[in-house]
Amino acid sequence: MSHLLEVKNLKKYFKTANGALHAVDDVTFTLDENETLGVVGESGCGKSTLGRTVLGLHDATEGEIWFDGENITNVSKAKFHELRKEMQIIFQDPYASLNPRMTVGDTIAEPLQIYGMFTEGNDRDVRVKELMDLVGLDQRFINSYPHELDGGRRQRIGIARALALEPRFIVCDEPVSALDVSIQAQILNLMQDLQEKQNLSYLFITHNLSVVKHISDKIMVMYLGQMVELSDGKELFVSTLHPYTKALLSAIPRASIHQNRQRIILKGELTSPINPKPGCRFAPRCNYATPACFEKNPALEEVLPNHFVACHNVKEINGL
């Protein structure tokens, strides 16, 4: 059968004074029911733009987005309004994504109101309280304002709001990055519980590789708008194939003092995504780059079963 979400060769370019900014460049993936796809990359790699384009918050420049067997690429506003019931988003910053002048109850009820999901005033409170229970938010906060609550509780409001319409697919854009570790663990567990209970599919965007490994069924690594590696579950961590992913993994400081691992330090920083030159975008920082890498953009290829890599030299580097 078809996948819940299918994204084919999706591109999103932004026009800037200096040329086209290639925020998302040729991204392809599928997502099934009850599955989590983790998208990792550093700032500016296009992971947030990807999430927003999939939700129709940006128009796609090229490519197709299929949801539940239907092509939803650049459909009308009215159609997207309908789709919102199925597709929701949780934002990164629980401080900025809530209206400071709306109470917790009003914030959670807003989507219900917009879609006319309750008839009488009483129904509203019942449903809001149900949602608050679901995300572990004490009912006594129903009339509180966001500034009265801490970051973890605010993020719970964001989650309750996203769940209000009983969506099937949620884009989670760095949902735990702004939280302290002990609270981060609470929210991650909550999201996993909710996924099981409500059969949710997540597109989980983060820069934190430990979080992504913990929560994802599939993982996509992005660099400057392009996918460099896509693999099933923990496979990525067992056999890491792309040189960028290798460097990214080795760069994470581990909370352990027993590892004498060889750290790969990358040269330089991200190049500009505006009018990128032909060739592999990672080549200027890559330790294995050959002249060919600067001429032709590598295509994503299935190097191992269900493990896709975009690198000209992947076989030589990994001795495959």
């Binding site: 700032s43 590789l209 430990s210 913990h214 909370a255 990358l266």
Partner: protein, 322 residues
Amino acid sequence: MSLLDIKNLTIHYETDAGCVEAVNDVNLKLEKGETLGLVGETGAGKTTIALGIMRLVPDPPGVIKNGEIFFEGKDLRTLREKDMRKIRGGRISMIFQDPMTSLNPVKTVEEQITEVIRLHQKLSKAEAERKACEMLELVGINAERITDYPHQFSGGMKQRVVIAIALACNPELLIADEPTTALDVTIQAQVIEMMIKLKNDLQTSMILITHDLGVVAEMCDKVGIMYAGEIVEYGTLEDIFDGEQHHPYTVGLFGAIPNLDVETDRLTPIEGLMPDPMNLPEGCNFCPRCKYADEHCKTANPVSHEVGEGHFIKCHRFAKEG
């Protein structure tokens, strides 16, 4: 004599809404050449300790209620402001978390590095400029870029500039407040590598404030775990990461981070929230979240017990028998 010796430091913020007990009775020692990691979550009081050492606690509302801060044998609290200004930026300097906001956007990098050099060292303008170029090269930025403005640099490079300014006068003590938190991992790895090298080359002692236990494991010799304004556990890197005995909060902190090397289905978060620093519990600050808490913990604030040489845990469970 230790380079830095903090005794019974207590810092409160006295606001109209009430008294925020940010730092309570903290004792710390730092030897020359050592790096101490202060770990804790938002609001644990890490930054307030740093500001206390620098005598930069905003007053009002901040008040140092009690305690002594000995730096090279002198109590910084008793110094005249004029003498303190000679130490600040010279003998002790500080790196702030956000490199985007801690540089002056309307001054070139050259002006900003030479400013600190000329304030603390009797050098001519030309000599100071030469020194500034050296510092920039030291942190891995081409000296040609010295006349650039901060907005012309990327985040990682701005943080390098901030580090160059902090190290320009060859300080004895460097306080780094979350120096890599605002950076991407591959850039963070570059900056950490550079800081370790500089620390070893220049023999600078360092206090590293962070919430990232991974960064601590890479850089520190000693570790202090902070919770609600107190140091709940203190010891060497080995004591904290490998020791048998730990404060329940330290255990919780390690359990809450997803570990790349261990498979778990669910994380084990610390239930509940940090107490409101305006309204701390009567007994142990951690007791409302602690699974071992008993009646005694609710009423009596524990003292630090030495469980091994130089390894302190502030918990009743480690009180000596009798």
